[in-house]
């Protein structure tokens, strides 16, 4: 009896160690695979990206629109109001045409980290730096003297655009965190987590384009208000 017990103890001790060995091996392989999946990149070609081309064209258009001289205005808008808006739009155009956006032209592949950096630039430079800090005042500008010549009638539209862009970015921001947790690798997880960076990139470029459109719309108003006289 004692002998059988000893045998059982021996078998059990090797069985436990064996289970731990198998589990540790499995866990190591799964983690290596997870690391590989997290570092997956996807290829991009900005020449075929309609959003990129549109943003680039809008940046050029805004530059043209904001190069007018407010001194020779033809509309009814107040000179100070126009000068202020012009400087704000010029700042916004610089924010749009940032280094990260320019670098996209040379990029062939994107990793999730690149997508995260692009999101940060869009969030810091364009949304916070331009739309919130520079242009949000148009959504509550009290134009009793009519100095904006009707621009502030668009305030609800501008507000709606800023809100939509901000909430879209918040969604992408939360989605980006999904790859930071460990999960059992399945094709479902791969599709819903690892293939997301490409979707997020598309979403970011659409949001970028939407921001550029809003700035372009305001720049066009400025251009039409001032006339076509250049500095």
């Amino acid at each position: 009896m004692k002998q059988i017990l000893k045998e059982y103890v021996k078998i059990f001790s090797y069985a436990i160690t064996g289970i731990v060995f198998v589990f540790a091996s499995f866990y190591l392989i799964m983690n290596i695979y997870h690391m590989e999946e997290v570092s997956t990149t996807f290829s991009i070609n900005v020449e075929e990206d309609s959003n990129y081309e549109e943003i680039k064209n809008k940046i050029e258009t805004i530059e043209k629109y904001t190069s007018v001289s407010v001194n020779d205005r033809t509309g009814k808008a107040d000179k100070e109001f126009l000068a202020d808006l012009k400087s704000k739009l010029t700042y916004c155009n610089t924010a749009l045409n940032n280094e990260t956006f320019q670098e996209l032209a040379n990029k062939k592949t994107m990793s999730i980290k690149d997508v995260y950096n692009l999101k940060n630039v869009l969030s810091t430079n364009v949304i916070n730096g331009c739309l919130i800090e520079q242009l949000h005042y148009l959504t509550y500008y009290d134009d009793k003297e009519g100095s904006s010549d009707g621009l502030t009638n668009y305030s609800e539209y501008i507000k709606l655009n800023i809100d939509t862009i901000s909430s879209k970015l918040n969604y992408i921001d939360k989605d980006l965190l999904n790859n930071s947790s460990y999960y059992y690798n399945s094709s479902n997880a791969t599709v819903s987590v690892m293939n997301k960076p490409q979707d997020m990139y598309e979403d970011l470029m659409t949001t970028y384009n939407q921001s550029a459109s809003l700035i372009e719309m305001l720049a066009k108003w400025l251009y039409e208000e001032v006339g076509v006289t250049h500095d």
């Binding site: 000893k6 436990i16 790859n179 999960y183």
Partner: protein, 142 residues
């Protein structure tokens, strides 16, 4: 040859245990500090490591050949600590996981928290295995 490999693994398991425990403690203490949780609660994560360390010390001091000369057990120990170190390495340095930079601590607590239970399970497995190997069995070396 086997004796030499066993000797190497025997030494390595102590070294890996100390490194993995030190790194793990750093991450856990940082995590608890960030969450404003009482640091004393983290003892439940450290406890399996401490028990295993105590058992290793007993194995060494009492010269328990059934455990110290067990190649399979030593190999499993090294593998488990290598897995733990790999998890800790990714927690600290895998910047492809966005939480690493997003949370502002350069440590991915989300990933580490997901793996704590697996780490505990593996360490407890080693403890149980160690205790069972310590019991007398038919091994002639004992």
């Amino acid at each position: 040859m086997i004796k030499m490999i066993n000797g190497l693994l025997y030494g390595l398991k102590y070294l890996l245990l100390i490194i993995s425990f030190a790194l793990g403690s750093y991450i856990v203490l940082y995590m608890y500090q960030r969450l404003d949780k009482p640091l004393l609660d983290s003892i439940f994560i450290a406890l399996p490591f401490l028990i295993l360390f105590l058992l290793f010390a007993i194995n060494m001091l009492c010269n328990q050949k059934r455990v110290t000369s067990n190649l399979f057990y030593n190999l499993t120990c090294c593998l488990v600590f290598a897995v733990i170190l790999f998890i800790e390495y990714r927690t600290l340095f895998d910047t492809n996981m966005i939480a690493n930079s997003k949370l502002g601590y350069n440590i991915n607590f989300n990933y580490f928290a997901d793996n704590i239970n697996a780490i505990k399970v593996m360490i407890i497995g080693l403890i149980v295995g160690n205790v069972l190997f310590m019991l007398p069995n038919d091994d002639k070396k004992a």
